[in-house]
Structure formats: structure tokens, C-alpha cells
Subunit: 337 residues, 4 copies
């Protein structure tokens, strides 16, 4: 499979390196508007085609699949052209700037029987794969909450706010591991640097049965934190992505026997903690193997267009809530999803 | 100063021990409705008066001041009686179940020139005293946000929800260290144990100038977390109350020079971290010395009735917001405060 | 059981409190040479006998058992007198200043059928009890090494060096959990504060079969560290006594299949980590219940005089090695042990 | 500067990448005996010369400098040939298997005025550069001790023991930051995997004035630890290389005023902790810039041949001590050093 990479800024080089290293694929072309980035790609892969224009890459008959790592605003246009030229597609997250556009891409890819996969990288990490396994096999029992803190001092984006930049990771994980879809969103976000998008955000997702998810994202925190708590009736998970080795800890703890009608005392169960050994394969390597398998064997992508669309739908609804001062906004799920 | 302690459950013994150990005070009486607790007090202080009834203790002429550590529902009645009997008062947090009642206590104590102090213990810790000093001396510059996580597997209360139980600590700290008062509150809270108060809550406080505070409180978390981030324009604080020695870390980091109109790039400043040595005196010992000083010398309490009232006002407003599904509710500050 | 506590300095109050709180015992007397300490004991236990002189306490017919928490230099004399007066004995660690004296105490207690127990407190912690269980049930397989770091900025002793002060804890744990006794000791220690005992020490214990134990003890470290690694062929333990909740972690890791004669490659096994829930009872409470059981029911103490003697023997041998510049010194185990 | 890299196993690719990326150098050739590794080098740098034999690379006139990353046993032979062919040299640590050979290389390079630099990478990290600065500027006062733990579950070597593999890092750091050279060594090491070199070692270095250094190295530990304590009279350092951001912490703590002749009490000073922001440049990038500067401008290398020799001398002496069961062995420093 010959892959063309469009966008060679922060993430594109990782995509290119993984496609180049994988035995099932090669990088045959790179496109980027910046001369410096094209120069960087040329130094690293002197033998491949380097384009200024995405359209030229898309038109290249030596390209079977396209990976799009441009700013989100251009995803739709580039992706649509790639699909219409018969290319399979791996597209950065968030998939598009609107659900409408995401739906259009899904339909176009479907009608041409092309693979459309969204690069929700975290879904392919050993940690999230293990969490998905634990939840789907019922080890946590009924899920009570999902709480994530994703903060650091970092990379203000000029075109999207911190929710679209950072919460997108958690939303893609939630989309994978939570048994239900959220029904409503409330979000608060503020900007502390004049003229820039919101750099601090809190997003609450409502589900059926009192299940709740909450995300804290922040570009102006003094330290890097990547901590997720998942509370279930039977067990609870602490997922710390900064931890070098024991990223996922499973606690056999909880509340038990809330007492009878007369003695409303809640008691606690304190059991062992267990940190399963995780697959340490680079997530992108694992993901690209899956993408190749989807193209070759017709396997359905785990992070398909619909998952991309669902994440965009929640981001869109969060933006509505932010503009409405944190009001709870119901998610109007489109039929296709 | 002879002190009577009303309520000898979880916190009362700590109050009694500290009043007993302090050279400026003695414990002269304890009251509790439970025979087991009265027995425990008798074993520990065989020589003092032990009462079943709070009123008997309050009537005791050998009691100069009363410390109230009963459930919050009874604070008002007991406190009012104590004030009306001319006793100085140290009262557990939250001060009362309503601002109306808090206001009444303030007025009664004021008219009798009695000390009314609320036991916002955290305010007297070495950590919070240092944070107050750093902020009030301007080391952080303009404050952007205050973000706290206070979760553990613990002690469900049957009469109050997790916001009243845990967020009260953060609200008392915020009341002390933040330069302004919040103007509005949005709060989400859910109960996962049928028939019990909410065990998981998220509270957002709005201030002027895009300042925001956010509290995450949870009785059903697998691990104990006590982490606060305070972001300022010039410096930021990480306050981790679990850390045995370096609880307060000050980071000389932030966003700088947000670029001109054409180059909207935010840059970052990465400077040193500094962990000031903190006073390790037990907070309650420090607080009780302050209480004795207030009674003896007419010093005004740091955590006076107004501070107790302000915290209750925010808790009350948070409850309104919870009942209204997280809607932002303006805080209607009473005139006195 | 009526207990007299001799020595009311740092540790004595803890012994007194635990004997007072336990339903199977009472504190009936305290002795200390210091008027301030006697005053402190009187404030806390106004109803008991307070002596200046240990002999007066020992002569008291209202004392069934004696707990000795004086400096180590006086242990022998006080203990001998107590035994000769028919008192059961709980004696602080290190048991004595020499093996000769330890042997004498053991023989005297034996001939009078009195309980002689050494207060190796760590042996009674939930953590060490769990480690003992794991090792004795074979979960670690053959033991390779025991490595401990026990350092802090703290309490220089004037009469004993850091090895006798801190390594005694590790030696008591090793005596409990390691399947064999060490055969030789090498120890290095230096003093950095003129006129004071050694404040930094490294002790290596040799066992049969290439088993080794190593202790790093230090009174002049900037931070407190209490970390022990125990390596076994099948599993390994990380025991961190500073950790608030997960003190003992068991790793299913190791070297496997060291390859054949031609391919001398060592491979590794990376399995899960598991942190068993530990009994959080205060160690001294657990230990005192055991002491009472020994006195009442003739149970043999886990930390009997022989264990105290073995620890003193290793400390003695370590001092020989230190004086001989770290030379490996064989341990000449006495016959009784 | 055109660089040839000999040895393309674990470390060689890092050397090649850094020489390729640096604007002052290019990679012009790679040599390795393994066909797979030659293939890997070819895939990555299709345009350069790939040799099976080191001699062919050394003979190449398009090579100005040679970086040697082969197993230590071959360092001497390859390095000597390179020097004799007029190539500047960057050589992996440990420099050679004996001081004799190290001396010979130093003399050969000196007589030909060639740069001979040893790749003591850690010396060029932001952390060690900061520690060197702090110590050399006197911030710690008189140094008391250097204590390092460097353990993990890892890469058994078949040709050298754990001391030569891991302690070499600490010895290179000690050579850089400690104000004096050690005068004697005592080392204990054991093998737990039959037929393999020692996998667990303890090395004690003696200096003048009661200064001591101690290294714990272990290939069979369940977790990775990289912690160094450096105690000085005025300040102390905790250097944790696993910490993502605050690797170096400086504590303003110590023992003070050891009391007068009669009151031999040691008191303590507890001051602030300070974590200086470190240069996060990749150490190898910084080091290679220095190597290029040495070749071009005649700057003397920080980690010159003598530093390589000193480290080998200590390793050699440690091996003597291990074979003599931990006896303290004086270091017989050669005159040149």
C-alpha cells in the first residue's frame, strides 16, 4: 500500500515514519504548503514525491491511500477530493469542523467502498485497549463515572479552542470504552489570553442512569497531568498516562450494602490493586497495521467515520453550551450514527 | 479559658485534645448524646464534666467558650443557645444549613460582643497560610483560575451531600486566598447509591475578569487525591496536600507575549520551581491559639462568622444550581457580608 | 495485665497509649528520670503511679509486665532486674549492646518461665506480615537479594551510630522474612559531624547460595526514603513504607531461560503488578495483643529473645567490619540461637 | 565534518541520527558485521557507504572522524587503527577494557594531534551540567557523599558485568562533578543467573576527608530507578532521572551547630527546595556540537581520554575488589592522569 501524507507539521512526520517502517506499506508522497517542511520531508525521504499542493498528491496514481494531518479547517475539502479520487483515507482528529461535513464524508466513502478511518490514536494504545477489554468484559460492573484531567503548559492553537484540541482525545476514548452514548453536554470555557481561543475548559457529559463523564482541559497549567478515573460499581480504574510503566491500575474497591431502610450507613470494600502488564507497541504502529488490514481485507475500522462524527457532534454541542454559559444542551444524534 | 466541647464523634476529640494541650485553655466539659462517646470522653478526661445534653453544658458557669462539633443540622440551635448564655463560640463548618441562620448567629454574637469563629481548619495550615501570603503579596500576578480535586473512597454522609461535605474545605480556602468573591455558581452532582445524597459533584465558580474556580468532589474514588492548581499570569501553584513534605510548589511559568496582531503565536516561559518550607504546626493548634487570642485580646477572627456565612451562601447557591441541572445561578450576596 | 512503662521519651508514650487502649491490659505505672517526662505522663494518666526510679516501678506488686523504652545502654540492667522480680518483659530494639548480655537475659527469662519479647515493631506491620506470608508460601521462588534504603534528615543519636539506630529495623525484618540467616557482614560507615557517631552507613549481609542483603542508612539525607526491593527468581517485591496506601507491590517479573550454551542471551518476563490490600491496624496494637496472648496463654513470641539476640549479633559484627574498614567478617553464631 | 559510525546496534543509530541532523556534520559511512544492521542503516541512509568491515570504513578518505559503538572488547583495536589513519575519535564508554590500553590510545592521539573524546553522554545532560555548576560554584559547600541507585529489569550483557555496564554512567558523572578523585574502592557483586556475569553490584568509593560515594547497580530489579543523592554541608541534591520535568531538586537543609562540648545535640536546618529549570536539549546533540567544536577549533574535550581512563581505572579496581570479596583496594593512579 502506497501512502501519501498531506501535512508534514507536528503529526505528519509520525504518520510518515510509521507508514515507512511498516512492512505492509510505503510512503510514496508528501504534500505541505511550507517550503521548510517540504525540505524536511525531502531530507528524510529523498526518493519520494514532494508536493506543495494537496491536489497534486491526490491526483498521483502512485498513491493508494492518503493520510491527512493538516489543520482541522481543511480536513473536509482535502478528504472529499481524496475520496472522489478513489483514495482510502486516514484522517486526523477532530475529523471535521461540523457533523454535516463528517456525514458527507462518510456517505461519499461508503458509496465508493473506500476505507475511511479517523486517527483516534489513543484508542490504539495498550492502556485504552486494556481498559476497553476490562469494561466490555464486565470487570467494573455498572459504570458510575469517567473523570479526566488533561492539562499542561502547551501549544495554544489559534484556530480551535482547548476543548477541540485536548478534550477530543478523551471523547475518542469515551466513544470506545463507555457502553452508552452521552445524551447531553454542559461546558464552561474561558480565555485568559486576549484575542485567543478558550484555554481552560470543563466539559460534563450526561448519560442515562446517572452515568456522568467530566473533562478538565487546560493549556495554562504549570505541570502536565493525564489522569483518568473510571468508577464502576464493582471495580474502579486509575489511568495515568504519565506513569512510565503502570499506566492502568484496577482497584477492587467500592461502596457496598448501603444498609437497610433504618440504618442508612454506606460501607466500603477495600480490596487489592492490580496493574496489568500492557502491550507497549507504539499506538500508531498498531493503528496503521489495522488501517492496512481494513484496506486489504475489508475489515471494518474500529475508529470509523461514525466514531469521528460522534466526537465532532459532542464537540459541536459543547461549543453551543459554552456560548450559552454552560447550559445543558441535549445531543441531537443524527440517524446514521 | 475553660472550653466545653459539644459533639464528641469524629472531630470533637481533636478539638478537645488541642484545647487540653494548649497552655492557654483547658477542657472543662464535654456533651454528646451517645453513651459510648461519653464513655470515651470520660476515659480520656476522667476529671471533667460529661453531659448528655448540650443545654446542660451551655448552662455550666465553668464554661467560658463552646466548641460545636455536632452534625450541621443542629449547629444553629446549639450555637444560638450558647451565644445567648454568653459563651464565645468555635463552630464546625459548614457553619449552618442556611445563610439566614448564619446571619442571625452573626448578629446575636455581635450584639453581645462575643467571639464567633468558624472552624475553617485548612485556612490555618502552613500550606494555605503560605498560599495566602504568596497571592496577597502579588507573586502570582493576576489570578486566572483555581482548580481543586478532592476525592477519596470515604465516609458517605447521610444528611448532607458531597458538596457540603468536601467542597466546603475548598470554599473556605478560596474565601481566604482569592482576591475577589465569586459572582455566580454552576454545579452538577449525582448520586450513585440509591437513597443517599449526591456522592459526586462538580462546582464551577464565576468571578469577574474571566477568573474561574472549579471543584471536583467525590466520595467514590479509588484513591485519595487532594490537588489544587492555582494559575496566575506570573506564577502558578501546585498544592498537593497528600505530599508529605513539599505540599506547595511555585512554578515560574506562564504564557508570554501573545504576539502582535499578525502573528498570533503564544509563547511560553519555563522557569524554576520552588517549594517553600512550610510551618508544620498542627493547623488546629495554630487555630486554637488564634481563638484564645480573639477571646482574650479582642483580635478579630480570620475565619469569622462572615466567612462562614459566605461559604454557606455558595453552598446554598450550588444546591440551587444542582436542582436546576447545572444552570449558572447568580450569587445574591447579602448586604452584611 | 498491668503494665509498667520504663522510659517515657519518644517511644514510651506510644507503648503506654497502646497498653492503655487495649482491653486486655492497663498501664499501672510509668518511670522516667526526667521531671518533665514524669509530668507529661501524669497529665495524661493522672491516676497511675509515676516513679523517678526504674527499680521502684519494678518492685511494684501492681505491675505484672514491664515495657522498657530507655536508651539501649541501660536495657540490660533494667531488664535483668525486672526478670529477677518476676516480670514479663517487652524490650525496645536493639535488645542490648552485646550478644553476651542478650544471651544472659534469654537464659534468665527462660529459667523463670517469663515472657521475653523484643519490640521489633516493623515485624507486626501489615506490610511485613504480608511480605512474610508471600515469601514463606513460596510466591517469590528462590530469594536473590534484599535491598533497603532507609534515609532521612533526622535525629542524630549521641550514643549509637546510624547502623544501630536505623539498620536495626531492616535487620529485624530480614530476621523475620528471609529463609536463611546471614553468614557474614561487611559494613562501611562514616561520620560527617565531628565528635558524633557515624551518620551514613552501608551494610552488606552474605547468605548461602549467592543470596545477599544490603542496607543503606543515613541521618543526613534531604528527603525521607523507606524503600525495600526483594528479588526472587519468580517474583519481586517493592516495599515502600512512605506510600500511603500501596506499600507492597508484587511484580510478576524476572529473567527466564538464560538461553542454551551457544546463545547466552537472557530473556525477561514482564507480567502484572499486584498490590495486596494490607491490614492497616497499628503495628503496636497488633504486637501488644500478641504480647498479652504470650503472657496469658503461653504462646511463644514471634520476636522472642533469640530474634533480638540475632539482630544484636549482626549489629556487633557490622561494628567489627566498620572498624576494620569494611572487611567481610564471618558471623560466629552462638549455639543457642 | 564527515563521520563514519562503527557499530550500528543499540547506540550506533543514535550517534548516526545526531551526526546526520547536526548542521556541522554529516554521516558518510556506517560499518557493522551484522547483515541485518547494515540493511537497517541502508534503509535509513540509502546514499552513504555501508561496510561490513571496520577497517574499510577507517580507510575511507571521505571519513574525517570515527564514532565507535562496538562492544567494549573491540574498542582498543578499532580505535587504534582509526587514530593511526588520522581520524578524530568519539568512543563509547567504557573506553577500553584496561587502563593500559586507554593510556596507549591517549598517547597515540596526542602525538598525532587528534581529538580523542569519550562518549560519557550523561555529562552532557542538562541535569548533570546543572549539578556540575552548582557544586563547582560552591552551592553545596563541602561534599559529604554521593549515593546512586541505578537499577532496572534489563539487558544482561554477556561480556561485561553490571558494574561495567551501569556503574560506568555514575563513574563518568562522579568524574565530572566531584571535586576530588577517589583513593580506594570496595565492591561486592553477585551473579544470580548461572553462567552469566554479575547482575547485582555495590561499589563504594573512598575519597579524602570522609567523603564517600556509593553505587547500587542491578539488572534484576522489578522497576527502573535512577536516583542520586548528593549531600553537602550547606545544601543537598536529589537527582531523579526518571522524573519527567524536575530532575534536579536542591534542598537547603542540613545539620547545624552540633552543640557545645557538653550538649552534643545535633540540630537541623529545614529550608526551601528549589528545582532549577534545566536545558532540555538532547544530551547527544549537545555533546556532538562539542565534539565538532573540538575538531574544528582545537577546544579540549570535557570528556577527554583521561576522563575515560580514570573511569576504566576505577572499574578495573572494582573488579579486583569483587574478586577479593569486597576488600578495599587502593587506586593506583597512573602518572599521566
Amino acid at each position: 500500500m502506497r501512502v501519501g501524507v498531506i501535512g508534514y507539521g507536528y503529526w505528519g512526520p509520525n504518520l510518515a515514519r510509521n507508514f515507512a517502517d511498516h512492512e505492509g506499506s510505503t510512503v510514496s508522497a508528501v504534500a505541505d504548503r511550507s517550503p521548510e517542511r517540504r525540505e524536511a520531508a525531502k531530507r528524510r525521504y529523498p526518493w519520494i514525491a514532494i508536493h506543495e499542493d494537496a491536489s497534486a498528491l491526490i491526483a498521483d496514481p502512485n498513491v493508494d491511500a492518503v493520510a491527512i494531518a493538516t489543520p482541522v479547517a481543511s480536513h473536509f475539502e482535502v478528504a472529499l477530493e481524496a475520496i472522489q479520487n478513489g483514495k482510502h483515507l486516514l484522517i486526523e482528529k477532530p475529523m471535521t469542523t461540523s457533523t454535516e461535513r463528517a456525514l458527507r464524508l462518510i456517505q461519499e466513502a461508503k458509496s465508493r467502498k473506500l476505507v475511511l478511518m479517523v486517527d483516534h490514536t489513543f484508542v490504539y494504545t495498550g492502556a485504552v485497549r486494556k481498559i476497553h477489554e476490562l469494561i466490555s468484559e464486565g470487570h467494573l460492573g455498572q459504570i458510575y463515572y469517567y473523570d479526566s484531567v488533561r492539562v499542561n503548559l502547551g501549544l495554544f492553537q489559534s484556530d480551535i479552542n482547548v476543548v477541540w484540541d485536548l478534550a477530543v482525545h478523551d471523547l475518542s476514548i469515551i466513544d470506545r470504552v463507555m457502553p452508552n452514548r452521552p445524551t447531553a453536554v454542559a461546558a464552561h470555557a474561558v480565555s485568559h489570553v486576549s484575542g485567543h481561543p478558550e484555554n481552560l475548559g470543563y466539559v460534563t457529559l450526561y448519560f442515562a442512569d446517572n452515568q456522568v463523564a467530566h473533562l478538565h482541559v487546560n493549556w495554562l497549567a504549570p505541570v502536565k497531568v493525564r489522569t483518568t478515573l473510571i468508577g464502576g460499581r464493582d471495580r474502579m480504574i486509575l489511568y495515568d498516562d504519565i506513569e512510565p510503566s503502570e499506566k492502568v491500575k484496577v482497584y477492587d474497591r467500592g461502596a457496598v450494602g448501603a444498609g437497610d431502610r433504618y440504618e442508612m450507613l454506606v460501607k466500603y470494600r477495600y480490596g487489592d490493586m492490580w496493574a496489568p502488564q500492557l502491550d507497549t507497541t507504539e499506538a500508531l504502529h498498531f493503528e496503521i497495521a489495522h488501517f492496512i488490514d481494513c484496506v486489504r481485507n475489508g475489515t471494518h475500522p474500529i475508529t470509523d467515520g461514525q466514531s469521528g462524527l460522534r466526537v465532532v457532534k459532542i464537540l459541536e454541542t459543547a461549543n453551543h453550551s459554552i456560548r450559552d454559559r454552560g447550559r445543558v444542551v441535549e445531543i441531537d444524534w443524527p440517524e446514521l450514527v
